[in-house]
């Protein structure tokens, strides 16, 4: 087994060499994951805010379902999406199987419950603080939701990051619906799985290091945005 420093050196070498295959894989990983997180936020934020800011029958049941779905097993989601998109499945005519779009769909299904459930909690806490003010000002339902979402935006950024973490690290769903096809649907995690199965453990681990580094950069960038925006708000 190679030493840890040798693995780090290989990871660094992989990036510095600018190997077009590695770059392509990194870019596709980010494209798929960020698309999935963006769609999940567009669905999950309003959904979470609505459940968090209003009281309605069976609300507790909805929350239990949302929280449970945070634990959806990626392999199961992958299989469900495969069965839907397969040529023999109901959406087979779209021809989406083994495409990056199929991977985005699978990851969106995985990430949306996380975004919705966590933002529900964030919004509900904020709502408890704001509810009397809303009532006294006579704020309508839509403006309530939008105001809560806006004021909770920094917390929601962390929620989005939780979704990003889930999606970028996930392999079970994308390998089934994407097929790990070279130059088409091969992403970081499926490459790591492939290299591990070839017995190239050092290369696999080096790719893992790159994946972690990318996650650190994305988190750092968002934190920087958050910090800048928060300072600007007090000027």
């Amino acid at each position: 087994m190679e030493s840890f420093s040798a693995i780090m050196a290989e990871a660094l070498g992989l990036i510095l060499s600018g190997d077009p295959d590695v770059i392509e894989i990194i870019v596709l990983s980010l494209r798929v994951t960020l698309s999935a997180v963006a769609v999940a936020c567009l669905i999950g934020f309003p959904l979470g805010a609505t459940v968090g800011a209003f009281r309605f029958p069976l609300r507790a049941g909805v929350i239990v379902v949302m929280n449970t779905m945070m634990g959806l097993p990626p392999v199961v989601v992958g299989l469900l999406v495969y069965l839907m998109l397969s040529a023999a499945g109901p959406l087979g005519v779209l021809g989406l199987l083994y495409s990056p779009t199929a991977m985005v769909i699978a990851q969106t299904i995985l990430v949306t419950p996380i975004v919705a459930a966590l933002s529900r909690q964030v919004i509900e806490d904020l709502y408890n603080e704001y509810s009397e003010q809303f009532t006294s000002l006579g704020v309508g339902p839509l403006d309530r939701v939008l105001a809560l979402l806006w004021d909770a935006r920094y917390s929601l950024l962390t929620v989005a990051l939780a979704g990003f973490g889930r999606a970028v690290a996930e392999v079970g769903a994308v390998i089934i619906v994407g097929g790990n096809i070279n130059h088409v649907t091969r992403v970081m995690t499926t490459t790591i799985a492939l290299e591990t199965s070839k017995g190239n453990l050092q290369l696999a681990l080096a790719l893992g290091m790159i994946l972690l580094t990318i996650a650190v950069i994305v988190n750092g960038l968002l934190m920087a945005i958050r910090g800048t925006a928060a300072r600007a708000a007090y000027v």
Binding site: A38, V39, L42, S86, Y98, G199
Partner: protein
């Protein structure tokens, strides 16, 4: 105000989506359902560029176990099936899922084992006798257990040896339920004997101190076949492009491309199209 801010948020999200953009689609491509041994050994990386340069057809390979590849193809999720389990392939064609089956190439299975050789089978060439000894000494044996071509061949040998591996499963007989590479990683870690195709073994990067223990039995012959998925059953199959690929693989040029692929100076696959 809230609305405007929120719309800004949503617009940013949509922008991110727009940047993601649609998949760069190339029209002329086919999907080949194939096995891990052909992919992990690097064979496809060697022969596919030759075909694509010649025809302009991109070949997208989904590499899974033979059992799963056949099921995927039976769902119509592939234009060509390129696997190694002749009886299952013939059934696939007999069921009307495939047009016809042709032999492409062969290599052989080997059984690799730890240098300590707990069952004392190193150097044997009679696979059935060797497996009987492994069962008698209850030396650990790691099986794919995933309905792959290699797994089917291995079960055939156990049946011939008269060993009920189902009863031993969880004891000395360990089913990993994984691909060839994962099973080699696991098996070498637990000091077990493992049956693998020679191509995967030669190109495997984590051999440790393992060596081939049993080889050379004609029962361990490993035949690969190619089948065009039946377009009458699955209208989405690109029959024309798929047939071009099948014809090329079976042509002199395709067969030479297969024969010329070597790892560490060893030829991994031996073309034998009729």
């Amino acid at each position: 105000m809230f609305r405007r801010s929120f719309l800004g948020f949503a617009a940013a999200g949509l922008l991110a989506l727009g940047l993601a953009g649609p998949a760069a689609a190339q029209e002329d491509f086919i999907v080949v359902q194939s096995t891990t041994s052909t992919q992990n050994s690097g064979l496809f990386d060697h022969i596919l560029p030759i075909f694509t340069d010649k025809t302009g057809i991109e070949v997208r390979v989904v590499a899974v176990g033979t059992g799963q590849a056949i099921k995927n193809a039976a769902n119509g999720d592939g234009d060509v099936l390129f696997v190694h389990a002749k009886p299952a392939e013939e059934k696939f064609v007999a069921d009307g899922q495939g047009v016809s089956r042709s032999d492409v190439m062969y290599n052989d299975f080997v059984i690799v084992g730890p240098p300590a050789d707990p069952a004392g089978v190193a150097g044997m060439s009679d696979a059935v006798a060797a497996l009987t000894m492994i069962a008698e000494t209850e030396a650990p044996f790691a099986s794919r257990g995933d309905d792959s071509g290699t797994h089917k061949a291995e079960l055939g040998l156990w049946a011939e040896a008269g060993v009920d591996v189902g009863a031993a499963s969880g004891g000395w007989y360990r089913e990993t339920g994984s691909g060839m590479g994962a099973t080699l990683n696991t098996g070498t870690g637990m000091g077990a004997y493992i049956m693998t195709d020679r191509a995967t073994w030669i190109s495997f990067g984590n051999k440790g101190d393992y060596q081939i223990a049993i080889e050379g039995d004609e029962k361990m012959f490993n035949q690969y076949g190619i089948i065009l998925v039946n377009p009458e059953k699955h209208p989405n199959v690109k029959a024309d492009l798929g047939q071009q690929f099948v014809d090329w693989v079976l042509s002199d040029e395709g067969q030479e491309a297969i024969a010329s692929y070597k790892v560490d100076g060893q030829q991994l696959f031996f073309p034998n199209a009729q």
